[in-house]
Assembly symmetry: C2
Homo-oligomer: 334 residues x 2
DNA sequence: GGCGCTGGCGCAATCGATTGCTGCCGCCTA
DNA sequence: TAGGCGGCAGCAATCGATTGCGCCAGCGCC
């Protein structure tokens, strides 16, 4: 299983390997006769040549590989971001190393990936504490781009416009006549949680509906958290619920079912983020679709620009792709 | 951002780089004085040295990287397999390149990964046609291990015991008094679909229940497929349904809801494979938990053995982890 | 006292590709 | 005719780590 190398191509074409290299890399500064060029290209094709990325990487100090680190692998939002990142890296001849960093991680994945020159840069989706994350990324000593996350002093990030997402969800509910709209909020202090809350609140006020703190409960990002928050909010008799994520919304739906409340006749439910699982719930969940795949793509593009030494523009928060209206929302009762 | 290299360590320790290398690699054949050894190790620690994987890979013709190829990224089963594979590769100092191969793929991901010596081997989860898959894997010219899939002439695979899974699901339903048990089958001709069907059928017969082809409908592996199959089966008035996957079971549940049937009072539902999404459905889905994460781990271990030149034993189908009884199954009506 | 052995370590080749520099050939100009 | 120059292509160093081989000093043995 010996792979063909540059020397094989050069020998077949009757040229030096340096010439073969120049032809195949398409180097512009050196002039090579058209006829020679074609001979080399033909040989490469015949031998099905592909450059050894390890050798090239060693010489050029570039591995043509990025690492992507996510907190969980089975979350559809991250899956979609990975998908987008994979598309973009592939387009540029890069590969994508994957790793996850659970909350129980003892070492730094970032450092593990960057040490040993395995990757040229990192795509980072993290729910970690700012300080910890900053330290670990600093130790990794490679360019990085954050996914849906801000960090002071970290200039490169691609974020979703969570505020706008919350707003259009509230708009949708208000248009259906709802005025008692509860919010299952994310982790307090978190960047996105704050944005979503602000969007929720802003939209309410825009519609002349007072903000009632009793209608907001912290749900975090799990189904169980959504369920607990919903139980707590039931006493407030909301006619609609806005979940911070699809998963918390699903947790809330389970509680409504248990409580004998009809969705959407008694209570409407909206989740932020869309994924196939939304169609598997009953009733199918109305969501705000967010460009998570695009986020992954843009982040990878940005990282490529960074390692190429360009200084890319910062990217504005990505607006929602719009509401996906399914069966979990309907007119407000009475 | 210059990383420390072996030469730096050697200089600090006052030895040749070859000596430093031998110490750090723990080479056994060469004798090195204890004192020298410690000096080198100390220098490496001081400088926070990590070997350049590109250089080492070039020299040793080993990238210490595997590729994993999955049909979809957002399927919890694959996510879990990736998770397991990542754990195992990490344990052995390997990294994991990720790629997906949609049904619309035009080129061969396998070849793309293996060409250029980026990976030492491939973990392959594929739903492709046998012939296509075989050809593409052959062209890739690297060792590979199949995930939950058999292929003639491909000796290395780690599969789940789908037959046993279907059996214990049927056992569970029969124990609850069900006798009209429908099956939402996978893709006809598929390896796993056949196994599941055989398990379903075998268990029925073991319990003295005749096999009724009218109670089996092809659902494929999507929620929509599950829904269609369920619609078709409704006329047969089953009291229980066994979905080939969690996703098809969810699709079936939606149809039952629409039809005004109560779960589990009128119809019980079981899905094969377990994942967090099972708890997000209403009612929460009873499933057969399969060791998908373990499958990924074992496959990676097996691949490591292969590239090390060992010839590992074939691995027996992994038995189910057991039933996870939630709220979607209950006693048969009347 | 010479020879050989062995422990301990350094020299240098090697993996495959990239790239600065040099060399050769032919033609043009002075 | 000599010098110069432009077009083309090869030589050889380089990236960082691994490893076969050889060197040297010290010791034991005859």
């Amino acid at each position: 299983m010996v792979r063909t190398k540059l020397a094989d191509v050069a020998r077949l074409a009757g040229v030096d390997i340096s010439t073969a290299s120049r032809v195949l890399r398409g180097e512009a500064t050196q002039r090579i006769r058209q006829e020679t060029r074609e001979r080399v290209l033909q040989s490469a094709r015949t031998l099905n040549y592909a450059p050894n990325q390890l050798a090239r990487g060693l010489r050029m100090a570039r591995s043509a590989t990025f690492g992507i680190v996510v907190p969980q692998l089975d979350n559809p939002v991250f899956a979609s971001a990975i998908f987008g990142a994979e598309k973009a890296t592939l387009r540029h001849g890069y590969s994508l190393l994957i790793a996850h960093r659970g909350s129980d991680a003892t070492d730094s994945v970032y450092q593990r990936m960057s040490h040993g020159n395995r990757v040229d840069g990192l795509l980072v989706a993290s729910l970690d504490d700012d300080k910890l994350l900053r330290n670990e990324l600093e130790a990794a000593q490679v360019p990085f781009v954050l996914l849906n996350r801000q960090l002071a002093d970290a200039p490169h990030a691609v974020v979703l416009d969570s505020r706008a997402a919350a707003e259009i969800a509230v708009d949708h509910l208000v248009a259906l006549g709802h005025r008692r709209i509860a919010h299952l909020a994310g982790r307090p202090g978190g960047f996105n949680a704050g944005e979503r809350l602000a969007g929720y609140r802003g939209a309410l006020e825009r519609h002349g509906i007072g903000f009632d703190p009793a209608l907001v409960a912290v749900a975090g990002y799990t189904a169980e958290g959504g369920a607990q928050a919903m139980r707590q909010l039931l006493a407030q008799r909301p006619t609609a619920v806005l979940g911070a994520t699809l998963v918390t919304a699903a947790g809330a739906m389970a509680v409504l079912h248990e409580g004998g409340l009809q969705i959407p006749q008694d209570v409407s439910v909206v989740g932020l983020h869309d994924a196939p699982v939304a169609t598997m719930l009953y009733p199918q969940l109305t969501t705000v679709k967010m460009p998570t795949e695009r986020m992954g793509e843009l982040a990878a593009d940005l990282l490529i620009a960074l390692v190429d030494g360009r200084t890319p523009d910062t990217i504005a928060p990505l607006p929602p792709d719009g509401m996906v209206i399914r069966s979990s929302t309907g007119p407000a009762p009475f």
